[in-house]
Symmetry: C2
Subunit: 103 residues, 2 copies
DNA sequence: AGTGGATACATAGTAGTGCCATGTATGATG
DNA sequence: CATCATACATGGCACTACTATGTATCCACT
């Protein structure tokens, strides 16, 4: 059941490349502020995903503005996303089934 | 987001006292075999819950049959169950909201 | 010019959880 | 009497979430 942060990050990256700070904000927004990660929370996750070959990253050096490290989903990340998503749906469904057994 | 096993055990114990082996089977059944814990998985959970004062346990020495350790919910366990349940609903809802943002 | 706040990335360390392997013992069934 | 299901227990590993901490840059305002 582990790796929820990873799954959500993979999911966000399906839309296209993204960088740490932005991903964190999008998760906060899309969860309607139910998930409020600290600043430092996300980077270990991204590091882990890259170590596992699920994402790749490149530095972006824009002419103006802060430099950012953009992460992109790999084909393997795609497959992992699909598997973990299904796993999450099954797991959360199972938990809800247990909880629902007692109204 | 941690403590899912604990929450489910607390939930089962709301119906009344229960013992390890039986709880494990009920979780397996009520989750429609999606959650299949190993034999040894549950006892550390029960131990932890007891350390935290959420359950109490007594040995049952029946005239016939195996002896069992029955666990019972404490008032504090009640409150914790309520809080963790709500937390789970919020969390799983938030995750689903994030995942649903990309169909 | 300078102060503060938001942006942006990074690492180290800790505590907690889930899970497996392993061990022990008893009751039931054939 | 052998085998299987029942039943409890412990130790340990691996992994994850989270926090604290650090560094640096950009922007807005005064």
């Amino acid at each position: 059941m582990a790796g929820m942060s990873g799954l959500m990050v993979l999911d966000l990256l399906r839309e296209g490349p993204g960088y740490g700070y932005g991903l964190r904000q999008r998760i906060c927004q899309q969860s309607h502020h139910a998930l409020q990660w600290q600043d430092g929370t996300l980077y270990p996750v991204l590091r882990r995903l890259e170590d596992q070959g699920l994402v790749t990253s490149v530095w972006a050096n824009p002419p103006a503005g802060r430099r950012r490290r953009y992460y992109r989903l790999t084909p393997r990340g795609q497959r992992t996303w699909s598997a973990q998503r299904q796993q999450w749906l099954r797991f959360s469904g199972a938990v809800n089934a247990v909880l629902a057994s007692r109204s």
